[in-house]
Symmetry: C2
Subunit: 222 residues, 2 copies
DNA sequence: CGAGCGTTTGAACAGCGTCAAAACAAGTGG
DNA sequence: CCACTTGTTTTGACGCTGTTCAAACGCTCG
């Protein structure tokens, strides 16, 4: 979705919900931006598109994805409320981003972020930290992908979400297929592992999209 | 290996080969450092050790690794001559680094690098670029680990080395086991895939550690 | 020449993927 | 309110890819 293609609220989504607002991109870094609404599975930006904006999830959830030429998909990350995404060094996005469910996203001009970083060392450092957090998370995820089995992957995923929500009960915004593409599995394997965990009493599944973690230790692997 | 434990050239490795030299950490960023020699499989730094230094490969090859508690190993990356590694944000290393074969590594104080970045925006930007390169490489590797099969992984690995060496003939400094832990496979699968490629004429294997790439397209997957 | 390590190869096995169908949930229109 | 549609999730049966275990091979270096 390119900004030139904005539609008015009266037309179909996406729509600009609010313009000219101050968006907090990092701690103590507020920049002018605007908020847009996206429908489920709607593209926020596509691979190869210019990196004109930096994004922040206001509500809902977003996934960033990459594809192999034959359609195999990888989900690089899930971005929940408050997360910043789409900040890349190059001129073109290496990922696409899509709304998982109905969601609101704030857009800030990338140039504005870069100018702020150039004039203020503290800001540059905070942006660096943002990237470094990202890097460390990616490294953990790489270890998961290269050396953990299906149960360990799903366990780590549930604990990751639980830690983010700071709660043993988690509502999953994403489908089994999304989880599978995040964990390098198939959706059937993810579903089977959920069922297995429930049978073993490690989790409860009140509904398919709600998980209550009962046994943290049994889901943990280091 | 902590610097306090340096031994003299007369004793066993590692040894300080040269002290007080200027090391080029990034383009136009030369900082005082010293060069140490390491024996095959010798640890350069360990997980959890303080991040007091930034490292640069002068000769030979280095691997950075992480472990799961039960011993499963992942190789995060191979670092060849000219590569900078060990630059992390936190106070403790999240990886260990070992010499693959006999090699020389330059050490520069991390504080010196940070001071340079703080006083010079251009330096900070170049360090940022270093990290961003790292990030992009990691993302590609994640796609490999999550969605590519054994042949595609080994193919990508060979092309990666070939691109770095800028040559269709590549000498592998690392063992089959190292390659396996980098690609998320077993050493047997790596060996079998090499043999398979050779049988199909995609590569030649004059010796186990030397590969000549014959058919780039057949090894490529996007 | 023999020891030790890395590599190759084989055979059996298992974990996860594939294909298929059924169960389930949510929304739509009669 | 209920039949119908559509999409997601679950479950089953089966097969393949890659692992495991084991043995043989080939270097290199004492």
């Amino acid at each position: 979705m390119r900004p030139q293609e904005f539609t008015t609220p009266a037309a179909s989504v996406p729509v600009v919900v609010a313009a000219g607002r101050e968006i907090e991109i990092a701690q103590d870094l507020n920049l002018p931006g605007f908020i847009m609404g996206f429908a489920p599975n709607e593209e926020i930006f596509g691979e190869e598109e210019p990196t004109d904006f930096v994004y922040k999830v206001i509500s809902g959830a977003v996934r960033t994805t990459r594809f192999l030429s034959d359609g195999r998909r990888q989900i690089d990350g899930f971005h929940l409320s408050g997360d910043v995404f789409g900040l890349e060094r190059g001129e073109a996005h290496r990922f696409s981003a899509e709304a998982i469910g109905e969601c609101e996203v704030a857009l800030v001009r990338r140039k504005a972020v870069e100018r702020a970083a150039e004039s203020d060392v503290a800001v540059a450092r905070r942006l660096w930290s943002l990237a470094a957090d990202n890097l460390e998370q990616l490294q953990d995820h790489m270890l998961l992908l290269s050396r953990k089995n299906a149960a360990e992957r799903v366990g780590a995923f549930l604990l990751e979400l639980s830690a983010r929500a700071n709660c043993r009960m988690v509502d999953l915004p994403m489908s089994r297929g999304d989880i599978a593409d995040y964990l390098g599995l198939t959706l059937e394997t993810v579903s089977r592992t959920f069922s297995q965990f429930a049978r073993e009493g490690l989790i409860e599944l009140p509904t398919p999209r709600r998980v209550v973690i009962r046994n943290v230790a049994a889901l943990t692997v280091n």
